[in-house]
């Protein structure tokens, strides 16, 4: 909204029917498919009368287990869209040689690579790790829920609504073309006057708010709600990584908030933070956003590394090697991760001393990471390794991530980075670590904790297929990309001049399709397992003979998690209990205090969605009204003091004796 913008319609702002891209065949086809799928889902829910169930048991639930599952479901749905973007890009790059322009015009291609990055980072990786942490951490520390169950619900719905906003941009208006980090001046008002960047900024703002809320929540939970006897050095390693991750979230996300808020102010009010005139400096945005951006990637990777610690120990049948060094390594990565951000813009003229310092610090992070890898290897050494699906993911990770980490150290040398910056080599590096560590870990986590969440295991055959296809697909897709990157090909290129490169891109596209099969097999695994769930049922609560507290509960756990709060004596508390002849209490149950459900989370989030959409399209009246409603609903919620109830002792007793009966049946 620069000073010379023409006045807009009071109700509809700058929204007109032209905003709907009905002349783009790909978008039209996508819309028809999505609309049909939507109709089918809504129809099925209505036909099977599931709306009440959905509202009561999931939408308004404050149970960390339900919220964790919803985060993961959101992530899987967005994975499909993000992967579709990837396939489209691979196809375009494989085709666009010898005079062909490919099938994607520039403004479309640019939105695709931006959306791919935004979706994969903010709406796949982040919800996956937040969802898994939400589900697992309270159970692992012996707590009944997180510290702030209401805020947990709100945090989830804010993330979901931000994802919806990004998807709306596909059909109403356009998305940003400025890359997933959105650096000005490309994303400033002059170069991008349309709604695309505004959609991007508001989606990030809303999901960032959801993430910070979640961060404060889990941090307080781990600090305050650990079971008696569980000091910090008796916590599972996954809880340590969660502690560090949530601290990172609280400490780094405000910088993202500032960066995108100031860019929004530049665009909405014509301010001069990141403009190229009147004293603005685009590098100020780059600096701020990467102060957030680097801790962000550690936020994504640390929980993944925590998952591998859990899986490696359980499926090697022995205690994790080097618990103390693992903890120190995690904390070092957390701390050093704050002083490396400049490696994202070595080429921007900071000079040798600055570049040298940040390059050194970046290379140093390889050390604690290496300590972790050796610890996993030594855990497996002389253990009785069972190659269940989670363990296969772990082994694949160790090979894949090793390559990714090494290429990272290569990039960390400023002199080398002047060649590699923004080349496809860099793209290879970050996909290597993202896929090898984060995606594989989350798929392992889903396989590992699925029986706990739903009461039956996942069919291993399709899971193992998924591991192979993902791994092979990754290498076939990205080794050529590393190669052309080293040869000097820039990232985000749509059309190529040099025909000798085409073979690399064709191979990469084939690799992408192989990985796509990996995704398909994962979805097939879910479908087949649900169909065969009685055969795969877990009745003991401990299908893997695991080591941590969550496996002492039934599968799925009761709403209250633990009838009695456990007392912990050692790391690997559940193994300790099993080895020392623990017996489940069968009487003396007390009434349990639980928080009530809430509709405020989803209502506030929907209002936020309306507010953001209105601001993007300059619909000032709608924005003002929705903002006022947000205040009213939010403040109104605080007048409700009746937030909890008690599960009566006899209900607890009945649930527990039902479990005792099932366990007795197992013999």
């Amino acid at each position: 909204m620069s000073p010379d913008t023409p006045p807009v319609d009071p109700i509809f702002g700058r929204l007109t029917l032209d905003a709907i891209p009905y002349q783009e065949p790909i978008l039209l086809a996508t819309f028809i498919v999505v609309a049909l799928a939507g109709v089918v889902v809504v129809g099925a829910l209505t036909y099977f009368r599931l709306w009440g169930y959905l509202w009561r048991e999931w939408i308004t639930s404050v149970d960390h287990k339900r919220i964790g599952i919803m985060y993961v479901v959101l992530a899987i749905i967005m994975l499909v869209r993000g992967f579709a973007d990837a396939i489209m890009m691979r196809l375009q790059q494989a085709m666009a040689f010898n005079g062909s322009e490919g099938y994607l015009p520039a403004h479309h291609y640019d939105q695709i690579f931006t959306a791919h990055g935004v979706i994969m980072i903010f709406f796949v990786a982040t919800p996956l790790i937040v969802g898994v942490m939400n589900f697992v951490v309270p159970l692992q520390i012996g707590a009944r829920d997180v510290s702030f169950p209401y805020l947990n619900n709100l945090g989830f719905w804010l993330t979901a609504v931000a994802a919806i906003l990004v998807n709306i941009s596909l059909f109403v208006g356009e998305f940003s073309q400025g890359g997933w980090v959105g650096e000005p001046p490309l994303t400033g008002l002059t170069a991008s006057p349309g709604v695309g960047v505004d959609y991007y900024l508001w989606a990030l703002q809303i999901s960032g708010l959801g993430t910070i809320i979640g961060g404060i929540n889990l941090l307080a939970t781990i600090i305050k709600m650990r079971a008696p006897g569980m000091g910090f050095m008796q916590m599972p390693v996954f809880c340590w990584t969660s502690l560090c991750v949530n601290a990172l979230i609280v400490l780094s996300f405000p910088f993202l908030t500032i960066a995108i808020t100031l860019l929004t102010l530049d665009r909405l009010f014509g301010m001069h933070f990141f403009t190229t005139d009147f004293g603005g400096n685009p590098m100020a945005y780059v600096n701020l956003v990467w102060i957030w951006g680097h801790p962000e990637v550690y936020i994504l990777i640390l929980p993944a590394l925590g998952v591998y610690s859990e899986v490696a120990a359980v499926f090697s049948g022995k205690r994790l090697f080097g618990y103390t060094s693992m903890v120190y390594a995690t904390v070092s990565i957390t701390v050093i991760g704050f002083v490396v951000w400049l490696h994202h813009f070595f080429t921007m003229g900071s000079g040798a001393s600055v570049n040298g310092f940040f390059g050194l610090m970046t290379a140093l992070i390889a050390i604690p990471t290496g300590v972790k890898v050796y610890n996993w290897l030594f855990t497996m050494y002389r253990g009785r390794v069972r190659f269940e699906v989670p363990m296969m993911w772990t082994v694949s990770f160790m090979i894949t991530f090793l390559l990714g980490g090494l290429t990272g150290v290569l990039c960390s040398i400023p002199a080398a980075d002047f060649q590699l910056h923004n080349s496809l080599f860099l793209v290879g590096h970050f996909h290597n670590v993202a896929i090898g560590a984060i995606v594989f870990a989350m798929l392992a986590a889903i396989d590992y904790w699925f029986p706990k969440a739903f009461g039956f295991k996942l069919e291993p055959f399709w899971g193992k297929l998924s591991v192979w296809f993902w791994t092979v697909g990754f290498f076939v897709a990205f080794l050529p990309i590393y190669a052309v990157g080293l040869m000097g090909v820039t990232r985000r290129t749509r059309v190529f001049d040099d025909p000798s490169l085409q073979i690399y891109f064709v191979i990469a596209a084939i690799g992408a399709f192989i990985a796509l099969l990996g995704v398909v097999f994962f979805l097939v695994q879910l479908f087949v397992s649900i169909r065969n769930r009685e055969k795969l049922r877990d009745l003991t609560g401990d299908p893997w003979n695991a080591r941590t507290l969550e496996w002492s509960t039934s599968s799925p756990p009761p709403d209250y998690n633990f009838a009695f709060t456990p007392v912990v004596h050692d790391v690997d508390a559940w193994t300790d209990m099993k080895e020392r002849g623990y017996t489940r209490p069968t009487d003396g149950f007390k009434a349990i205090h639980m928080p009530r459900n809430t509709s405020t989370g989803i209502i506030l989030s929907v209002l936020t969605l309306i507010f953001a959409f209105a601001i993007i399209w300059y619909m000032w009246l709608v924005a003002a009204v929705s903002f006022a409603l947000i205040l009213v609903v939010g403040i109104g919620h605080t007048f409700n003091y009746n937030r909890s109830f008690h599960i009566p002792a006899d209900v607890v007793a009945r649930t527990e004796s039902e479990r005792t009966r099932l366990l007795a049946q197992q013999g």
Partner: protein, 130 residues
């Protein structure tokens, strides 16, 4: 603190710890008010009367006064101490300040080097008199 967990502790019914945040004696508030008033007056007076020698020297004195004033506030009004909330308020504050220092001074270092190495951008001229 490491073996401490609050699940069984008597932090019952949501009272903030009796010696924790939010509670202090009237005396400490009066002392805090007095100290803060003196420090603020010092800072204002310093600038009103033209400073102490060079701009850098005055800036450093102001920085010290600012830090002192913030500490007075933290200790006399907010009553932050190592026993409050099991010491976690101190830890989180230390981590936050660490990040602030790294981000602030790291960035100033970076931006200064960039501005030295790059062409001056339009609009960075100073106005007459400054």
């Amino acid at each position: 603190m490491s073996n401490d967990s609050h699940a069984g502790q008597a932090v019952a019914h949501g009272h903030a710890d009796a010696d924790g945040l939010g509670y202090g004696s009237l005396q400490s508030y009066r002392t805090g008010l007095g100290l803060a008033a003196i420090l603020s007056a010092l800072a204002l007076g310093l600038v009103a009367l033209g400073g102490v020698g060079s701009i850098q020297a005055t800036a450093i004195v102001l920085l010290v006064i600012a830090i002192a004033r913030v500490i007075v506030h933290l200790f006399y009004f907010l009553r932050i101490k190592s026993s409050a909330e099991g010491g976690w308020t101190i830890i989180t504050t230390v981590f936050t300040l660490m990040v602030v220092v790294i981000a602030m001074f790291g960035s100033i270092w970076v931006m200064l080097h960039q501005e030295t190495n790059m062409m001056p951008a339009p609009g960075t001229e100073t106005f007459r008199g400054q």
